[in-house]
Subunit: 180 residues, 2 copies
């Protein structure tokens, strides 16, 4: 950030009065420009014993497989975001269930959430950001070709919880990418 | 937003190529300025059968009582944020436990999360944003003077779960303030 979004003048870094953190502050109109982490929200779409994955058509990790997920937009709930991302990424109609995993990634200022979800039908197809979308049984998951550590961890928890017959919220922190 | 934070030129509203949503886009350097919901994170600080609340010294809801909470900062985890907010609001040293409530407030583009937490000692005192901080038993909670609907709902769930001896994640949506 170099310029004030309110008045167009230059910004500087300083700790505003009464604040605890350094911020971008406008040198002319004194507007404080806060920066905050972003939420990336998705789901684990189930159909019988299979899970829907999308192969990424965009960077980063083009060509690798992911659960449908993306940045939460304004004017929606976290569950809305999970359903929307499955629709955009895979044209998939999902009934969103419980919150299933929550990961903080402080090194990139993101918080990931994955919900459990159930496909309402099999009429899915690649969205603009996917090369292909496909259902996988546990033994078919392309573990070596998953796009993100949060996706690998979420799927590991999922299959482990499914075997023991008890799904619960998993909560963690990923401080740097482990997948590649 | 009126000006580009990268180059200082005017921005306009449009749907970038390949995007699904209208964004602020710079008329000169074409930078897309995404806007996303923010996380507000706090905890329910326990000491034996009592809960720590803070009376707000700042707007909005100056003079009303709240659980310690605030906007998540860059370079921290959600649990870090919960502990930091208790320290800033109440000089309270908290051991953060499980995620307890998660609320989407799409009308103001916020997502609230409250963790369970345990006070490590009784050396708390008002922080800069609090007029006073105090421990309350269930029957002492100032229900009519709580600052936010998310705080009231979180405390209602807390005492209800405590009575039945089982705490679980509560997940909801609040579409407009109910408290006043």
């Amino acid at each position: 950030m170099k310029f004030c979004a309110s008045c167009g003048a230059a910004v500087t870094r300083k700790v505003p009065a009464g604040d605890t953190h350094e911020r971008f502050v406008c040198t002319t109109c004194a507007t404080v420009h806060y920066q905050n982490p972003k939420m990336v929200i998705g789901c684990v779409p189930e159909w019988e014993d299979r899970i829907l994955l999308c192969r990424r058509a965009i960077e980063p990790r083009l060509g690798l497989w992911t659960l449908p997920a993306g940045f939460m937009e304004l004017n929606e709930t976290t569950a809305d975001a999970a359903a929307r991302e499955a629709l955009e990424g895979a044209n998939a109609d999902i009934e969103i269930g419980e919150l299933y995993t929550l990961y903080s990634l402080p090194h990139i200022d993101q918080v990931y959430m994955f919900y459990r979800g159930r496909l309402r039908n099999l009429e899915f197809s690649p969205g603009e950001e996917s090369l292909e979308v496909q259902l996988f049984r546990e033994e078919e998951i392309p573990w070596k070709e998953l796009a993100f550590a949060v996706v690998a961890e979420t799927l590991q928890h999922y299959f482990s919880d499914r075997r023991r017959g008890l799904f619960q919220l998993h909560h963690g922190e990923i401080t740097r990418p482990r997948n590649r």
